[in-house]
């Protein structure tokens, strides 16, 4: 089981423009779209991505990636994630990052498959979220937290200390691998 918590905060902006689409079928599939203020992205394209993610439960990850790529060519900043059995597969484009806590360190997840174990902690986030935190802060908050929500709350406090949540949209997903169903 993957416990997850999604932060979608508008920050100091008029509206929340990033997007997170999730499909909780037998495999967890997720798309995180990061729209810095200068980026343009149509509502129709956003809806197309959402529809693809929703219909992705029986789709291979590579097929999903190939279907989404033409829609998001101009966006440049997005990430596709699939967690299936004991593996996480990611495809990162631009300034959306994924990290895993392993052996007392925070390591950036490479594109492709990575095996997961019980208790592993993974974070996927946009550059706007990450730039306010260093690796040690993310790591420390991860290893003391009982839940994905608590991990996120602790990191939000750190970001708040720096900018009072008054800058760009904040988008991140924290995930903890739990044994059992």
């Amino acid at each position: 089981m993957i416990e997850n918590y999604i932060l979608m905060h508008k920050g100091g902006q008029e509206e929340y423009r990033d997007s997170v689409f999730v499909n909780y079928s037998h495999a967890l599939t997720m798309a995180i779209l990061y729209l810095p203020t200068e980026a343009e992205f149509s509502v129709a394209d956003e809806a197309s991505v959402q529809a693809l993610v929703q219909a992705s439960s029986k789709m291979r990850f590579t097929d999903l990636s190939e279907s989404i790529y033409p829609i998001l060519t101009n966006l440049r900043n997005y990430m596709l994630i699939r967690i299936d059995d004991n593996t996480i597969t990611i495809e990162r484009h631009g300034k959306v990052f994924a990290y895993i806590v392993q052996n007392g360190e925070l390591k950036m997840l490479p594109n492709g498959k990575t095996s997961l174990e019980d208790g592993d902690r993974v974070i996927c986030c946009t550059n706007e979220f990450k730039r306010c935190l260093n690796d040690l802060a993310i790591l420390s908050d991860a290893v003391v937290s009982d839940s994905a929500e608590e991990w996120m709350d602790n990191m939000v406090c750190r970001i708040s200390d720096k900018n009072r949540l008054s800058e760009g949209n904040l988008t991140a997903v924290t995930m903890i691998v739990r044994s059992g169903d």
Binding site: G104, G119, L136, S140, V143, D153, S160, R164, L165
Partner: protein
């Protein structure tokens, strides 16, 4: 006619020093090679042979009494049990703050040597001791707790309240432990409502503790998995008397190569600020270095 070495007095005199030099050089080469192979190369991140240099200070500031307490486990036990270090900051304005912080330090001393791999049980013991304090003092006092346990190249930490555990890596200081104060709750609430958080910082009760030793069933924050430490890291466990006087941004100015000189610099930095209401200030400083032996 044949000539033997014995017939060459100059050469004969050089043989013995040359042999000794050769043997010594070979021995040193073999020793370095063995150490290098054993460690997987000097400076390898998996190096287990880190050693810890430690120093501390505990100053009264402008307060009438010392309410901070410190405990550091015996350094000679480092290779067997690691090192445990605690700062407990008695809550100011409460009658038994100092007494409780002393009791917390005494309790941790009795817990040592503690298992590095039983952080959950250790946290439970601390929580149960807080309940004992609650029964005894009935909230007429309290204390924070900031404690690190370092073994090899890994560190666990435990925290209740708002004392600081700071790890300085590559010149960047990071407070590791989340603060258990009202401000954190306000920020959480504002964030849930998609709001900015300026109001949390202007709230007069923002720094009030929501958890402390002496409270009933406090939440003891602890590392479920240890954090890796590296050669060159510096760890500072301190009461807020230090971090209120020296901001995290300025902290790096006072970091020196050894723990003792860093502790002296930090102590002088706080004193130099001459803050009229300077709280008790206490810190334990560790520098982490790789051992060649």
């Amino acid at each position: 006619m044949q000539t033997s070495f014995a017939d060459l007095p100059v050469l004969h005199g050089l043989i013995l020093p040359a042999v000794i030099l050769f043997v010594l050089t070979t021995a040193v080469f073999i020793w370095f090679s063995v150490v290098y192979v054993k460690k997987g190369g000097f400076g390898h991140p998996d190096d287990n042979e880190l050693y810890i240099d430690c120093a501390w200070f505990c100053e009264i500031g402008k307060r009438p009494s010392q309410q901070d307490s410190v405990y550091i486990s015996p350094l000679q036990d480092y290779h067997k049990y690691g090192i445990t270090a605690l700062v407990a900051d008695g809550m100011g304005g409460m009658e038994f703050g100092g007494e409780i912080s002393e009791k917390v330090a005494g309790f941790v001393e009795n817990m040592c040597p503690m298992s590095f791999f039983a952080s959950e049980q250790n946290a439970d013991e601390l929580r149960r001791f807080s309940n004992v304090l609650y029964e005894e003092y009935n909230l007429s006092g309290g204390s924070t707790l900031a404690m690190v346990h370092i073994t090899g190249n890994f560190m666990n930490y435990y925290s209740v309240g708002d004392s600081d555990i700071i790890l300085v890596r590559n010149g960047t200081p990071t407070i590791l432990n989340p603060r258990q104060n009202y401000m954190a709750l306000l920020i959480k609430s504002l964030c849930r409502n998609n709001k900015q958080t300026q109001t949390a910082y202007s709230n007069p009760k923002a720094r009030s503790l929501v958890d402390f030793m002496g409270n009933k069933n406090p939440r003891v924050i602890y590392t479920k998995k240890p954090i890796r430490i590296f050669d060159g890291d510096k760890i500072i466990v301190s009461s807020d008397g230090l971090t209120d006087a020296v901001s995290l941004r300025n902290l790096t100015r006072y970091l020196k190569d050894t723990a003792a000189s860093t502790a002296v610099e930090l102590k002088h930095a706080v004193a130099a600020r001459k803050r009229p209401k300077q709280d008790n200030y206490t810190a334990i400083v560790f520098t982490v270095k790789r051992s060649l032996l």
